[in-house]
C-alpha cells in the first residue's frame, strides 16, 4: 500500500515538475518583454575596453563656395578605414570617408547645395532627415545616384524587388550618374537635422556601414538664447554596431552584395541591434568636460535600438530645450529620456553639479550589460557659471484642438512581403506606385497611427505635433515639434501635420531601418 502511495507521489511530482518547467521556462525567458524590437548581432571581436578612448566631434565642413544666397558643399561618398575599436581599423562607407560624416552648419533661410559624388560600389540616395526639402532633393528612395565605377554593380545583377516587378522599377526614379546636387532651402526653424542614406531596400546596411552625418540649422531665435556653444555644444550620434574578429562590421544581410534580395536573415526581421555602443564613431568613448553647462544634442542613429538615457550619478538634471524640430516652448526637466531610432533630443546638462574628478556615465537603462553604458564624462577642475535656462525658449501654437477627429488611420504592422515575414503599412508593402495619402498643400491633417511592435514612425517634409498617445495626452517625451514618433507595441497615437511644401511625392515610414527595408514605407503626395 505504501509503495502505491509512493508511486503515485512520484507521478504527481514528475507531472508537476514537467508542467512547472513547461510553463516556467518560457515565462522566464520571454516574460519580461522587450525594450526594442530587434535581435542582437553578436560580435566576435575581442572585448572592447570601456571608456578607454577619447570621443571626437565630427568636423564642420567648410563650403567650397558661397554666394549671396547659397552655401555650396562637396561630399565624396567613399570606402575608408576608421578607428572605431582598438586594433585593426574598420572598413566603413563614409561621407568624405568619415563616420559620422562631416557636420554641415547652415543658417535658416540660407540655401545649401550639397553635391554628393558616389565613389562607393553601390547606388546611394541622400535624405536630409528633418529637412523641409522639395521632392526633387528629398532623396526619394528610387532617386538613385549610381556609382562612378559600376564594375561591382555589373558583377551582381539585381534579382528581386518588393513589388515583384523585377528590375524595371529601378529606372522609375530620377536617377543620376556619379553625382547629384541636393538643394536644401532650409526655410525652417533652427534644429539638429541629419543626413543619411535612403536607398530603397538597403538603407539599414548602408547606414550601418557609416552613411550618416549631422546637418545643424541655426537661427536668430536660438542665437538670442546664448546657449552653451563652441566646445560646450556637443552633437552626439549614438549607434550600436557588431564586429567580426578582425574588427570589421558585420550585418546579417540576406544578400551581402546589397544589390539583390533585400532584407535580413529571418531571426533579424524584427531589427538588427549591435553589441558595441559607439558615440560619434568611437566605441564607448570618454570625454573631458569642464564644471560648466553643456548642450548635449543627442541623436539615436541606431538601426533599431531604443535608448533610455540617464546620467549616473544622477546629480545633474537632463533639461530638455529642444526636440527633432528645434526649440521647445519651455524647458522640461527630466531624470531620463527615451529616444527611439532617428529621434533627437537637445539637452542642457550642468556638470558643475559634480565634484572635480567625478566620472559621470551617460547610461542606457534599456541596455543589458555593457550596452547599458554609452559615454563617460570626466569632470575637470575648470569651472564656469551655470547657464541660466530661460523660462521661455520659443513659441509653439497647437496645430489643432486636442479633440479633433483623425482624418486618416495608418496601421504599422507585421505582414507578408512577397511570401516572407516583413512589415506593411495599412496592409501594403512599399511600392513607389501606391499613394496612401493625397493631401492638398497647406492642409492640416490628423493621422491616427497604430502599431504592433516598436515602430518609430517618421514623416518626411514637415514636422508634426503629437496630439494623443494611448487615448490620453501626449507622453513626457513627445513635447515640441517631432519628425519621428516612438510608437510602442499595440499603441495608438494621433499626430497633426501641416502639409506645407513643394508639390510632389514623399515617403513616410518606420525608422527601424530593417522594418523600412522590409517594406514598412508608404507615399504621400502634396498637390
Amino acid at each position: 500500500m505504501s509503495a502505491r502511495v509512493t508511486r503515485r507521489g512520484f507521478v504527481a511530482i514528475g507531472v508537476g515538475a514537467g508542467v512547472a518547467a513547461g510553463v516556467g521556462v518560457p515565462l522566464v525567458l520571454t516574460g519580461t518583454g522587450a525594450t526594442s524590437t530587434g535581435e542582437s548581432a553578436k560580435s566576435a571581436s575581442r572585448p572592447v575596453p570601456l571608456f578607454a578612448r577619447a570621443m571626437h566631434v565630427p568636423p564642420v565642413l567648410a563650403p567650397s563656395r558661397m554666394d549671396a544666397s547659397t552655401d555650396y558643399y562637396e561630399i565624396s561618398q567613399e570606402v575608408a578605414l576608421a578607428e572605431i575599436l582598438e586594433g585593426p581599423k574598420t572598413e566603413i562607407w563614409g561621407y568624405n570617408g568619415m563616420f559620422p560624416g562631416p557636420t554641415i552648419e547652415s543658417r535658416r533661410g540660407r540655401r545649401s547645395v550639397v553635391t554628393h559624388t558616389n565613389n562607393l560600389p553601390v547606388p546611394t540616395v541622400v535624405h536630409l532627415h528633418g529637412g523641409h526639402t522639395p521632392a526633387e532633393s528629398d532623396g526619394y528612395p528610387l532617386d538613385l545616384v549610381f556609382p562612378i565605377d559600376r564594375s561591382y554593380m555589373n558583377m551582381h545583377a539585381r534579382t528581386s524587388a518588393h513589388d515583384g516587378s523585377s528590375a524595371d522599377h529601378l529606372v522609375a526614379g530620377d536617377t543620376s550618374e556619379g553625382s547629384r546636387s541636393y538643394t536644401y532651402p532650409l526655410e525652417q526653424r533652427a534644429a539638429q537635422l541629419w543626413y543619411h542614406d535612403h536607398r530603397m531596400d538597403f538603407t539599414g546596411p548602408s547606414v550601418w556601414r557609416g552613411l550618416a552625418g549631422f546637418h545643424i540649422v541655426r537661427d536668430e531665435e536660438e542665437d538670442a538664447l546664448q546657449l552653451p556653444s563652441g566646445d560646450h555644444e556637443l552633437p552626439l550620434m549614438i549607434t550600436d554596431r557588431a564586429f567580426d574578429s578582425n574588427n570589421q562590421l558585420t550585418y546579417p544581410s540576406v544578400d551581402p552584395s546589397l544589390l539583390g534580395t533585400p532584407g535580413v536573415r529571418a531571426e533579424y526581421v524584427g531589427g538588427v541591434l549591435g553589441d558595441v555602443m559607439l558615440v560619434n564613431g568611437t566605441a564607448w568613448p570618454f570625454l573631458d568636460v569642464d564644471r560648466a553647462s553643456y548642450r548635449l544634442r543627442i541623436l539615436n542613429a541606431c538601426n533599431a535600438r531604443r535608448l533610455d538615457i540617464r546620467l549616473d550619478p544622477p546629480d545633474a538634471d537632463l533639461t530638455q530645450i529642444g526636440s527633432d524640430g528645434g526649440l521647445l516652448a519651455t524647458p522640461i526637466r527630466h531624470q531620463h529620456f527615451e529616444l527611439a531610432s532617428a529621434q533627437r533630443v537637445d539637452l542642457i546638462v550642468d556638470f558643475s553639479k559634480y565634484k572635480p574628478g567625478t566620472r559621470v556615465t551617460l547610461v542606457n537603462a534599456y541596455g543589458d550589460g555593457d550596452m547599458g553604458k554609452i559615454l563617460q564624462f570626466r569632470v575637470g577642475e575648470r569651472s564656469q557659471p551655470a547657464y541660466e535656462i530661460p523660462d521661455r525658449l520659443s513659441s509653439i501654437s497647437p496645430l489643432v484642438p486636442a479633440n479633433r477627429e483623425p482624418d486618416r488611420t495608418m496601421r504599422f504592422l507585421a505582414g507578408n512581403v512577397n511570401g516572407s515575414h516583413g512589415w506593411v503599412v495599412n496592409g501594403l508593402p512599399f511600392s513607389p506606385h501606391t499613394v496612401s495619402a493625397a493631401v492638398s498643400r497647406g492642409t492640416v491633417e490628423v493621422w491616427r497611427l497604430i502599431s504592433d511592435f516598436y515602430h518609430p514612425v517618421h514623416l518626411h517634409l514637415n514636422p508634426f505635433q503629437v496630439i494623443s498617445r494611448g487615448g490620453g495626452p501626449p507622453g513626457v517625451f513627445d513635447a515640441g515639434w517631432k519628425d519621428t514618433i516612438d510608437l510602442r507595441p499595440y499603441e495608438e497615437a494621433t499626430i497633426a501635420t501641416r502639409f506645407d511644401g513643394s508639390p510632389g511625392k514623399y515617403v513616410f515610414h518606420c525608422h527601424n531601418l530593417e522594418h523600412e527595408d522590409m517594406a514598412m514605407m508608404a507615399n504621400f503626395t502634396i498637390s
Binding site: V19, G22, P26, T30, G33, T37
Partner: protein
Amino acid sequence: MSTPDRPGANQAVAPDSPDRPSRRWPRWALRITSTAAAVLLFDQAIFAGSFLSGSYGALLTHEDNARFAAIATLLTLVSSILVAGVGKGPRWPIVAASGLFVLVGLQIVLGYTGMVALHVPVGVATIVVAVVTTVWTWRRV
C-alpha cells in the same frame, strides 16, 4: 496474444474479460499527451504576452509553438481513441480531444490571417478546454 511474459499485467486487467483484456497504457498516453498539449497551449499565451510587449522573436516562437501544440493535440486525439478502444475506457475524451483539435486548427487560421479580435477569445477558450480535459484525464479515466 497471451500475457504470461508480462508479469502484473494480469492483475491490472483482471476485472475485464480475460479474452480481450483492456489496457492501462492508453490512459497514460492520454494523460501525458493531454498534459503536454495543455502546457504548450498555455505557453502560447506567454509568447503572445511577450510579443505584445515588443519582442519580435516571441512572435516567431508563437508561430513555431503553434505547430507543436497542434501535434500534441493530434496525439491527444489518437490517445483518446485508444482509450475508448483497446483501453475500453470512456468515450468522452474523444469528444473533448476532437473539440480541442478543431479549436487549435481554427486558431492557426485566425492567427495567420491576423484576425486578432477572434484569435484572443478563442485562444482563451482553447486553453480552458485543454486544461479541463487534462484534469479529467487524471481523475476520471
